[in-house]
Symmetry: C2
Subunit: 329 residues, 2 copies
DNA sequence: ACCTCCCCGGAAAGCGGTTTCCCAGTCTGC
DNA sequence: GCAGACTGGGAAACCGCTTTCCGGGGAGGT
């Protein structure tokens, strides 16, 4: 393994000079020596040892991002946005997947702390469990105490920079749009009762309906994924319009209806939330609330890296997108 | 920032003892001291500095994985598999996305080398450009010379452990299945002419047709993504059956046909390759060649970490899955 | 000419761990 | 009762790089 010392020796200069030439510094180095060092480095195939650099500089050029599941296009889009932003800043990205296990999330924060990453991005809503949240918060504090920056998207952690999708407002806007098409009997495939994101979307939806004087929607709980939507859809029978609190669930619901011979949108209208790009060719095209996921990921990184006197909460609005999965009554 | 020295001082022991207690060692430490150290570490909130550890140990617990695009479910699945396997080994993962830029790929290898990651996984086929390939290979050699391990999946790099999907055979098997349904006039949405994966799938397909004495398929080149499939599909008019060399392209093709009022499978049959999970609810359900992507990702990690005397090529068979997007003629 | 200032090069002190080596004390076996 | 093996503890030498500090020499000012 070639070290800086090897390069310095080969070039006949000191370690300091070699370091200044190869790894940047405020100090100048004369053209002659500079050339000698560069040639030596090239000949030897020198690559700086980042571990040593990180140690010496006291700061790494790595950020961490923690998501539930990379194969979920929602998180993939978020991660992609954050990674593009990171690449723009010359940062490397360590990705951790928790598979929705809060313990894993805490463990990752600890690990990323140990790695002394510059920032940690936490993506994805979490379960509303005070004990677990407290432990996560404690771990984050520990990390921040040692100079780490944190931001989260779609989380619900006080005191942390946050990119907050307007879940409640999005749900409400969607409800108004659907009511505007003449729907009155609604069901909500509401996901897990204690998942904040799901709860907010559902609550906004219900509140808007109430405001319009419409009957309460039927709330059907279940998992937050495709199969959860699939299962919940089977119990939605009397509704003319079904709101799945995310697109992936909506796709599950569509599959369930298809199997049952229930036509969408003729027999029932279906709407989702997120506007997942991978699903844009789904048939029927899904009505949903568009979230700029890639931008949100990038924004989260910005927030984390930003000055950040006190915790900033950046609200991101969703936009209702009406497509063929709903019809006018 | 709490260091090991702080812990040692607080516990009233030497650095060596503290290290042995907290960060593992072959040596034993007496129960009394051990307890003191652990308590001190806990009170102080000590987290080992991985940069220092990596430097001292000369080996990191990080692997790198380089993909083209995380939002492409193909790569997401591969990455997910690799990350699960990595988590099982207690390894962290740095992910890099190249967005199909070979220069980026080379740059990432260099960066990951600098990070002294334990292994690098290269995912995704590359363009057949000798000059660029040579440079990548050179960078990989440099990395391996310093003890790094490399594996790739779906690549075409000699001398590197490889997880190789049976693209040619899969294409051929698919052709035989489709021919068995009575199709004779084929088109192939073949992707870029110099992309190895695309070429192999296409070649296998064409070869099988020739073997069966069927007319040559019409080869339509274009980008390897959804829009490439969409565009190419518009030129496939006389075929009764269209093979898109990956699922994402097939979805693009389906979208194009839908817009044109061409019914699938009544007017034209469509098949893809990969069997992307996110698309399983697509309508019509896509006939394809299933690849066990998650397992392939995990396998790649195993190969990279494995003993690896000489380069192993692990062939992974695809399985034809007939679904409603094709019909019997 | 003389002094100051600036510029560039090198020596060396860290950064936070791991691990080798040495040492004192305790167990064994005879 | 004593040599020899073993045990657990600590001092200190690294790991590879950054950066402070110091010094020598040339340029510029008076």
């Amino acid at each position: 393994m070639v070290t800086l010392e090897d390069v310095a020796r080969q070039a006949g200069v000191s370690l300091a000079t070699a370091s200044r030439v190869l790894n940047g510094s405020t100090r100048q180095v004369g053209a002659a020596l500079r050339a000698r060092v560069e040639r030596a480095a090239d000949e030897l195939g020198y690559r700086a040892n980042m571990a040593a650099q990180t140690l010496a500089r006291g700061a790494s050029n790595v950020i961490g991002i923690v998501v539930h599941d990379l194969t979920d296009p929602y998180f993939a889009a978020l991660a992609d946005g954050a990674m593009r932003a990171a690449a723009g800043e010359g940062l490397l990205v360590m990705v951790g997947t928790t598979h929705r296990d809060p313990e894993q999330e805490i463990a990752y924060v600890a690990t990323l702390n140990a790695q002394r990453v510059r920032a940690v991005l936490l993506a994805g809503s979490r379960v509303d469990d005070p004990e677990v949240t407290a432990r996560l918060r404690h771990e984050l504090e520990r990390y921040r105490a040692s100079g780490g920056r944190v931001a989260c998207v779609g989380q619900d952690l006080l005191g942390v920079d946050t990119v907050a999708p307007a879940n409640y407002e999005g749900g409400a806007a969607l409800a108004r749009s659907l009511a505007g098409l003449g729907h009155t009997r609604f069901a909500v495939l509401a996901g897990p009762p204690n998942l904040m994101t799901a709860r907010d979307r559902c609550a906004g939806f219900a509140a808007a309906l109430e405001e319009l004087g419409l009957p309460e929607p039927r709330i059907l709980h279940g998992p937050f994924d495709r199969d959860g939507g699939y299962a919940a859809a089977r119990q939605s029978r009397d509704a003319t319009c079904v709101f799945a609190v995310n697109d992936v669930m909506a796709v599950g619901a569509l599959a369930a209806y298809r199997e049952q011979g229930v036509r969408v949108p003729d027999d029932v209208s279906v709407a989702g939330f997120d506007d997942i790009v991978t699903l844009r060719d789904h048939v029927p095209a899904l009505t949903t609330v568009r979230l700029p996921l890639t931008d949100m990921g990038a924004l989260a990184l910005e927030l984390a890296l930003g000055a950040g006197e006190r915790a900033v909460v950046e609200r991101v609005a969703g936009e209702v997108v009406l497509r063929e999965s709903v019809r006018r009554l």
